[in-house]
Structure formats: C-alpha cells, structure tokens
C-alpha cells in the first residue's frame, strides 16, 4: 500500500526516511554539481576583463598607443549571461538547502510542485543566457564579413578564452539542470498514497 516500488520503501510518516531515498540523494548531488557549474560560469564571466595597449599609428618615430579594454559589460548578451547564471546558481543553492533542511515545510502539499515549476523556469532562463552568449562569442571569434564586423579574439585572446570557459561551464550546468528538472517531474508524478491526505 505504501510501497509504490518494492525496492525502496518510503515511510512517509517519518520525514527523515524520505530524504534517504536514492532518487533524492542523486538529485541532491546533481544540484550541488549544477550549483558549482553555474556559479563558476558566473564568476569567471563577471571577472572577465582584458586590457591591451595597441599601437594605433606611428608619427615619425613615436608610436601612438591606445589602451583598449575588453570587459563583459560591453555586450548586453554577456550581462544577461551573468545575470541568468547568477540566478540559476542561486536557485540551485536554494534547492540544495530546501532538500537538506526543508522537509518539514510543506505548503498544502505543493512543495514538490513548486520545486518543479521553479526548475522549469530556471532551465528556460539559463538556456536563454547560454544561447545569447554563445552566438555573441561566435561573432567575436569569427566576425561577420557581410556586416563589416571585425573579429576581436585575435587581439583579446585571454578575454575570449575565459569567456569560452565560462560558456562551457554554463552548458554543463544547463545540461544538469535539464536532468534535474526531468527527475523533479518524475518525482512529482509518482503517486504517493500515504501523502494524499484530504485537504
């Protein structure tokens, strides 16, 4: 009756036993890794800055230098990337905290549903940030000859490398977030007869 799957009995009258179910532990580990991935992406992109002094022209024998700085705030796409990944890592942190300590809080039995909804929203947000940053990085790396936009990665190599690292880390986080969302939804749709109390 209370066993929807013979291998893992979830005794729902004892809330501590619920948190020991294997799928919950897997979810927790995935959320931790996703938190680190998105936090790393946020931090690496937020600290992404490169200053370079280039010789612009030479008058006689004195070269004229211009100092150019490439920072992430120059492009709204990267700003959105930082904000989206920041919010995704905050969401992951919050969910980790709720998983470990929040089993006693339950608002009308909707806790798991709220978690699933928030997971879906975070997936949409993080994927938006990733898409924008990827194509902006591709534009910076290859330029666009039709629009007469020059590439900038040959001058600011470190900026491009750090940006690429942040984007890759964010993709890892996004993949994990999709997996986490699938698991949350899976957790949601399994009917647990013991918790279905008349509201």
């Amino acid at each position: 009756m209370a066993l929807d799957n013979g291998a893992k009995p979830e005794a729902v009258h004892d809330s501590t036993l619920v948190s020991k179910a294997p799928s919950n532990q897997v979810l927790l580990v995935l959320r931790l890794v996703a938190f680190f991935a998105t936090a790393a992406a946020t931090i690496v992109m937020a600290l992404n800055k490169e200053t370079k002094t280039i010789v612009v022209a030479t008058i006689g024998s004195t070269p004229i230098n211009a100092t150019l700085t490439a920072k992430f705030q120059d492009t709204p796409a990267f700003v959105f990337f930082v904000i989206a990944n920041g919010m995704a890592s905050l969401h992951n942190l919050l969910m980790v905290v709720v998983e470990i300590w929040g089993h006693k809080f339950d608002y009308k039995g909707l806790r798991l549903a709220m978690i699933a909804v928030l997971d879906m929203m975070t997936v949409a947000l993080a994927s938006g940030g990733d898409g924008a940053a990827t194509f902006m990085a591709e534009l910076g790396k290859k330029g666009n000859s039709h629009a007469r936009w020059n590439k900038i990665c040959d001058k600011f190599g470190t900026f491009c490398d750090h940006g690429a690292g942040a984007i890759i880390s964010s993709f890892v986080g996004l993949l994990l977030l999709v997996l986490i969302t699938a698991l949350s939804i899976g957790r949601l749709v399994k009917p647990r007869p013991a918790t279905l109390s008349p509201v």
Binding site: V117, G131, A132, H146, W149
Partner: protein
C-alpha cells in the same frame, strides 16, 4: 476537459507563431548601395538567425506532433518532458537572435562594430517582426509548461 482544450489551443497557437517567425525571417532580404559599396543583407549570413529558423522549425514540428499525441493520454509524461526541452530550445534561440539583432541595431562601440539598420531598414523591420513572433512562441511554451504542471494537481484528490 477544458484543461486539455487549453493545451490544444496553445499548441495550435505555437504552431502558428513558429510558422510565422520562420516565414517572416526567411523572406527578409535587402540590398543597399552605400557609396558604391553594395550592402547585401540576408538572414543566412548570421549563424544566430539560421539557428533561430532551425529551432523554430523543430518547435513547430514538435507542436504539430504533440497535438496528435496529446489526444492519447498514455504519452503525457513524454510530452511534458519534451515540452521542457522545446521551451529551452525556443528560449535560447530567441535570446541569441535578439542579442545579435541588438548588435545590428545599435552596434558595439567597444568592438568597433557599426550598426547596419541604417543601411537596410526594411530588413531590420522584418527581422523585428520575426523576433516578435519567436518571442510569442517562447511565451506560449512557458504558459504550456505551467498548464501541464497544473494538470498534474488534478491527480491529487
């Protein structure tokens, strides 16, 4: 049954808006001559717009398929998971297209990129229309996700 009808209507709307986005973007083409330089603007010159068209195509195709699948209630878990994936695809494609479109409209002084909307205004207007349709499609899918989740609450007594 009204929840199933809402979901069907939303999917139909999604098919319509993705088809509109693809049609408007694919037919956008403009040539301008500025100071003896021929300026040719087409959506396929930018990989972000090509990705946008492909993603909208996939989403439109999936919406059609899920219209048929959602009549059979046995597939609803698969449909829900695929809804999340397609919403993610739509969200990333519209963000990428808007990011590149913003560079085209305002340029980027730090990188030395000049805006191109001054030379090809009709192209830019059509792009704006396609992006609005794509944004509507993404919003419809987000609402669809919420509706699917809400229909799960009906399982609880």
């Amino acid at each position: 049954m009204t929840k199933a009808k809402i979901s069907l209507v939303l999917r139909l709307l999604a098919v319509g808006s993705t088809a509109a986005a693809i049609a408007i973007m694919v037919t956008s083409h403009e040539t301008a001559k500025v100071l003896n330089l021929s300026f040719d603007a087409k959506y396929s010159y930018t990989s972000a717009f090509v990705y946008f068209v492909i993603a909208e195509g996939i989403a439109g195709g999936y919406s059609l398929v899920s219209l048929l699948l959602s009549c059979k209630p046995v597939f609803w878990r698969l449909v829900m998971m695929m809804d999340v994936v397609i919403a993610m695809l739509l969200s990333s494609s519209i963000s990428a297209a808007v990011a590149i479109g913003e560079v085209g409209k305002k340029g980027n002084s730090h990188a030395g990129w000049l805006p191109i909307c001054g030379q090809v205004p009709k192209f830019c207007d059509q792009l704006t229309g396609a992006l609005i349709a794509g944004f509507v499609a993404a919003a419809i899918y987000l609402v669809l996700l919420l509706c699917s989740l809400r229909s799960l609450f009906a399982l609880k007594p």
